[in-house]
Amino acid sequence: MNGKYVYFAVASLLGVLTALVSFLPFFLLSLGYLFCLAKYKRFGRLQLFTVVVTIIAYFLIGEWVEINNKTVIPASTTTFMVRYIQDPKIDGDLFEVQAYDTNFKEKLLIRYTIKSEKEKAALQRKEFYQCLCRVSGTMKKPAIAKNPNGFDYRTYLRAKKIYWIVDIQGSPLQPCTPMKFSPIILIKQLRFNGIHYLDNHFPPDIASLSAALIFGDKSLLTPDLLTSYQKTGIVHLLAISGLHVSLFIGMIFYIGIRCGLTRQFMTNFLLFTLPGYAILTGASPSVIRSTLMIFLVLLTAKRKNHLHLLPIDAISLAILIFLLFSPLVIFDVGFQLSFIVSFAIILSAPHILQRYQRNSIRMLVTSVTAQLAALPLLLYHYFELSLLGIFANLVYIPLFSFVYLPGVYLLYLSHILFGKTPTLLLGLFLKMIELSNQLIDLLGHFSFGRFIPGKPSIIMLIIYFLLIVAIFYIWEGNHYTNRSLQLLILSITLFSFQTAWNWLKPVGEVTMIDVGQGDSILIHLPHGNGNMLIDTGGAVNFVEEKWKLRSKPFEVGRDVVVPYLKGKGITKIDKLILTHGDMDHIGGAITILKELEVKQILMPSVAEPSEEELAIIQEAKKQGIPIRKVSVDDQWKSTDSEFYILSPEMNFTGERNSGSIAFVAQIGGVSWFFGGDLDQEGEERILRKSPRIAVDVLKVGHHGSKTSSAEAFIQQLKPRVALISAGENNRFGHPHQEVLDRLYETNTIIYRTDLQGAITYRFYHGKGTFSTYLP
């Protein structure tokens, strides 16, 4: 059975995927898999039968979970008896915690708006376990994605079996009754107190790093630092990983033996404490995977005269056990990355890694292996990949493994035992973390070496997987004379085929991205003929007291527009058109300038730019991006597309909306009118100048406000299609009924982002169709 468990792990995965993702493709894949086992892997009848049973069993488990993955709580419920199952997340005035409703036996996400700074401090100190609380509030469904490639919170929570967010009015801890004690609660409390101990007794840099490395809690790290870790591709070091667990277990084992305990005792001790250790470190999928693997290895090592468990068998058994208990975990990014990377390293270890004798080279090769294996998944989930990551890992893996990890334990233990830490050691450590954080920050802002080909489709994913397996296959081979050449060709293909396809694809699009209350429209012309972005969306921030501020407030540019563009593999904007200086149109511009390559910015020629516009002008100057102030009669052309500016007049002095850039364009075989927030006055000016103007598609002015879209203007334009970008239930009541009525009168088809999500016009050779993201 040695080395064979992997075939059963694959079978279990196929079974779960058939049940949870898509029946027919994975069913066919399963049949193909059985065929291959019989034909190429010398599987006999009994063995094949067992594989079939495995697939069916896991399929049924998956189906069972799928059928039961729905809420049982009636939508009208207002009072809930809950116990809290997680450390709460407190960010600004937002309090959020997962809870378990004891009546309905279902998980809930509880949200609460903290009323005062004093209450916030009290909640931060509080333990939330071991009590049963009665809370009341209103239930609402988690938000769904409204843009392609957008984050779907509802699906995300559903995979965690949470279907409702409850906004509670009163404090989450009143009234509560104490609950029975259980060891799991004890460990959770230990974790909570341990993290708070760190937070209270150490400088923030050390506390945050220690909390991540000792307890697997990243919440103390500043969001900016975390982003830099992510961008450099070393964020996995902050998660408790296999490397980490094995180092830690190794440390404990060694200390035990040095203290005169027997190997057998230490093995038993570790077997007994490992499950607790998994909970203590947050029980994330990567923690569970690594503790499970070590557990299995230790367990088989106990059995005398039996072969010890091969790593490949340990990881395969870990998958089998994991999926048996929670098949939904296949949707967890951490689970996917943790397993695929470990699997690749295990497969590479005996031959590829063995070949490189020098430690530094071997580490580089391991790092490359990990990055290669994670590549398709990283692109699928994050749309980008840092090639710098390979080298960042080379520096940071040893730093974390041999300095930070023992270091944080040493500092923590000495503080607990002696009540303080040696100042010199603390200072040295602090300086080191400071320096390494600065380096990460620097690397994170380095745009070189970032690979952004867009979100791969299923076919693309398959191509990626095949290419990567081929690379490993050839890399492993011994007798190739031109191996380097083949590897080079495969690698170039790996990093270029998707970009090449993006360029070759003869389809262009105009998309009104759903940015809530605001505007952002992408015009993408095929074959590299240009990308234009009209406005960037942006949220209006109100001045708040400091304690109420979120550490990383929602920002449309960063959270919606940039992911949308990166998901399409768009990294270059030829023209960024900022129609006017309002926050809801240009609030995301700074992020766009920082994240993407902008060739030129178009702004209206107005006498008094707004504060936001000035900030953008400054950032553009810093980056050397030319700004063109446009006014009426300016125009430009691209292959098959024309753009002609109708407003504002040069050096416009007047109300800001009235001075919006308005232009007509010919794109994809139809004519368009884009006018930002242009008001009725501005519309009249345009009608006076071009009385015979008519278009096919109208971007309705000012989110459908009645201050725009005058009856005469609509009647003259006679658009066949109208696009309205407005926030869901926005406080201005946009779009106004009057405007909708005027559009009905001209028999115009109306598309609205607030109801339908992103709206896309996709065209091919001068013909196209509209589609909406939500049905």
Partner: protein
């Protein structure tokens, strides 16, 4: 566990550890017969060898060979009685201590299954040679009774090739007990079975070991005289 047959090395009986790696994962799983450490001890004959007898020339002193032909073969070829009968010989492995032991176990101690180990290589080589007829060197009846099987024939059978029952042995004294001279000057030890059609055939003789080449040359002489177009030979060891 009995559920999956635990494969063991045919020679040392150690459990075969699975091959972990990308190739092992993706490629067709083959039946494995020897463990890596035993397999390592089989030394393939590679590089420059004697044109006729396939003896490796790399570790042979200059004075024992003339260009690409060894002095043994020169002596055979200079003797008009033996010249030009055996066109050339191919051997798979060096007759080292390990192989000596392995072959002894195979033919003298009757471990028939070991034929499988060599069959793979025999098959590979025969694919290149395209013979019309395959002739295993026969044993005398007495010897066959003693051993239970003909080691050369078993190799061909395991490799999945048909054998031609053309030769029979008349003399039964063991070869390995004789010196080179005795062997060379032996009277013919084989006879051709009467109804064989050999005219123009390309024949490959198969035996376990090539030592002096006298057995093979005896058989070659007989077959060539009976009209065979060419005679090559293939042995496991050299």
């Amino acid at each position: 566990m009995v559920f999956f047959q635990q494969d063991r090395c045919l020679n040392c009986h150690m459990v075969l550890q699975p091959i972990i790696g990308w190739r092992g994962m993706v490629s067709v799983e083959k039946e494995r017969l020897l463990c890596p450490s035993c397999e390592e001890k089989l030394e393939r004959i590679e590089g420059d060898t004697c044109r006729i007898c396939d003896r490796p020339l790399s570790n042979l002193d200059e004075k024992y060979h003339d260009g690409d032909i060894c002095h043994d073969c020169i002596r055979w070829e200079e003797d008009p009685e033996w010249s030009k009968y055996l066109d050339n010989n191919y051997s798979l492995f060096l007759y080292n201590e390990f192989l000596k032991e392995l072959i002894a176990k195979y033919k003298f101690r009757g471990d028939y299954i070991l034929a499988k180990i060599f069959a793979v290589y025999i098959k590979e080589k025969l694919m290149e040679m395209h013979p019309d007829l395959l002739v295993p060197i026969p044993l005398s009846e007495e010897r066959l009774y003693e051993r239970g099987f003909n080691q050369a024939m078993a190799l061909l059978q395991e490799a999945g090739y048909p054998t031609s029952d053309i030769l029979s042995r008349i003399h039964s004294e063991k070869q390995s007990k004789k010196t080179r001279l005795e062997r060379i000057h032996l009277p013919q030890v084989f006879t051709i079975n009467s109804d064989s059609q050999l005219e123009g055939k390309r024949i490959v003789l198969v035996d376990d070991i090539y030592t002096t080449g006298s057995t093979l040359r005896h058989a070659a002489k007989l077959l060539k005289e009976a009209g065979a177009a060419s005679i090559q030979s293939l042995t496991i060891a050299r």
